[in-house]
Symmetry: C2
Subunit: 336 residues, 2 copies
């Protein structure tokens, strides 16, 4: 593809993103040193439109990028825009003094929303990549237990359990068994060992033990129920005009964890993925894009975080911010 045509596309994308209005040939040459006349640009535009990278909302209006155009822009033209000094400083310091995992993720999502000026989403670290630290059994009432699972990333999972009857000694014994089987293991390992434990339990523990193990297995392998935090909702008001097409479907998606999870998708740490418009799996979200990245330690990916916004977003900046935050949080959580 022609070099100048690419340059024109880049110019169109950046101008449209900043102005939100269709951009015409005249203003294009005025604002960018293309070294050619508007007429020439018009020819290039016609070609770009022919190939499906841009389109015009109506005859005799300027051009706006199509999803395909954005895609090309992101793939071939999008040098990540370096963060400002202030942003870098913010990212370096936003976690200092964080209390617990909840707090860390809350701060993360806020920061991400703030620097990108969009809606941010942070997934809780998934269990499968973390190591079981402790299993606790607590008696809530004569007929009710609470099983608690604590992992190396600080995540805590709880589940109630109905049980016919029990005494403290039995519970202590069971607790010891469960911990012996799981602590220090990753979730998949723990699952295997729990299954084995099930058949080797002393008779006195059979009743309660089986139920507890079943529940614990569920918890350990409950990847699907990945919790998440959302922030930056007020930024939605910046898209005032496109209420129906953008804001409404987005709010609906944000309400449904499952949808969100699917949207974020899976990404290994340090790799920023972009889903543009109809590339993403829900047709209601055709006019929104998702910029996501995995985060984690050098060896593991804990989970995913990202932002969601209108297709016409500032991809270079957003991608840079997402990557920077993901890296920092990953490192922070690995150390802790």
């Amino acid at each position: 593809m022609d070099d100048r045509k690419l340059e024109v596309l880049r110019a169109i994308v950046t101008d449209f993103v900043s102005s939100q209005e269709p951009v015409g040939s005249r203003s294009l040459v005025e604002r960018h040193d293309l070294g050619v006349s508007p007429a020439t640009v018009r020819n290039d535009m016609a070609a770009l439109e022919e190939e499906g990278y841009i389109t015009q909302p109506h005859t005799s209006a300027g051009r706006i990028p199509t999803d395909k155009g954005y895609r090309l822009f992101v793939d071939r033209l999008g040098s990540l825009k370096p963060l400002s000094a202030a942003e870098q400083r913010a990212i370096q310091t936003f976690l200092s003094g964080a209390l617990d995992l909840d707090d860390i993720l809350l701060r993360t999502v806020r920061l991400l929303a703030q620097v990108t000026q969009q809606v941010a989403i942070v997934e809780y670290p998934t269990l499968s990549h973390s190591v079981v630290r402790h299993v606790e059994i607590v008696s809530m009432s004569p007929s009710r237990l609470l099983l608690i699972l604590i992992t190396s990333t600080g995540r805590i999972e709880q589940r109630a359990l109905e049980i016919p009857e029990h005494d403290e000694e039995t519970l202590a014994e069971l607790r010891a068994h469960l911990n012996a089987a799981t602590v220090g293991n990753t979730s998949p390992q723990a699952a295997v060992r729990l299954s084995k434990l099930s058949s080797t339990l002393p008779p006195s523990l059979q009743m309660i033990g089986q139920a507890a193990i079943a529940t614990l297995l569920e918890m350990v392998s409950s990847e699907a129920s990945g919790r998440m935090v959302v922030g930056g909702m007020p930024n939605l008001t910046r898209y005032g005009s496109e209420f129906e097409t953008t804001v409404k479907p987005m709010l609906e998606a944000l309400e449904e964890q499952v949808v969100l999870l699917k949207l974020l998708g899976e990404a290994s740490a340090d790799q920023v993925t972009v889903r543009i418009g109809q590339e993403n799996p829900y047709k209601e979200l055709q006019s929104t894009s998702v910029v996501a990245s995995g985060y984690g330690s050098q060896v593991d990916t804990f989970a995913t975080l990202g932002v969601i916004g209108p297709t016409r977003m500032d991809y270079p900046s957003t991608m840079a911010s997402v990557r920077a935050v993901a890296r920092y949080v990953g490192r922070f959580l690995s150390e802790g």
Copy 2:
């Protein structure tokens, strides 16, 4: 105050709530059996406006209620509208099969949002009214502990703690002490007993113990950090027109836990409170109302739940729904 004038006010409020348009004297007599002519109604309207209960957006438009008008309506005219059979059924069944506290509250907030068609908020049960069930200490790394507090309402509070060094035995001993001091006590009681414990710890536990007790005290008395769940955000799209005045400030409030807490205020169980327009503590939310109710057992109020929406909402229905849901959840949690 004149009986008929009250009746006129009621008619104006209900009509305006359902149509969202200023209501005039003619349509008023057409839709309500007032038994008088439009001219008479006009006189009453003039009086009502004089007294500040209604106002007209511009000369020669119909009237709309003022906050004061809504207040009078709620106080003196608002017979709670009974729930539909479908709603009652929904409320009776929405909690069946709930897994844990998180799940219960999530379902609650969804239900509330659905039946009221507005944004719903549910506060987590506060610690002060619940009883400590268990305290757990988990070693996360050589220099790091995780303190976990479990209460009778199923709420779990966690906090990380930096510690110089420690071995398992010491921890076990400390755990025993902490549990002995707190289990079975309400938060305030536990706080007192923890303070006492602090001075009677064996020397071997002094170092770690002091730090742990300090942290635990914080957790036990951390009323302020009441967590909450929000749901029904998509309902915000129904106020499309009043973006700036209603939706934006609402989104901003929803992002800030502290603001939300203050908005919900405190209410004892089984008492529905309504804050209309500028009655609530944030001037940005002048055009929104909050309908809230405490929920809990017969003896205790656990926390508050409610909905937030535009001042022109259907108060009778909303209040009825909030009350019904609050009652049901309160009962459910008391039994569990």
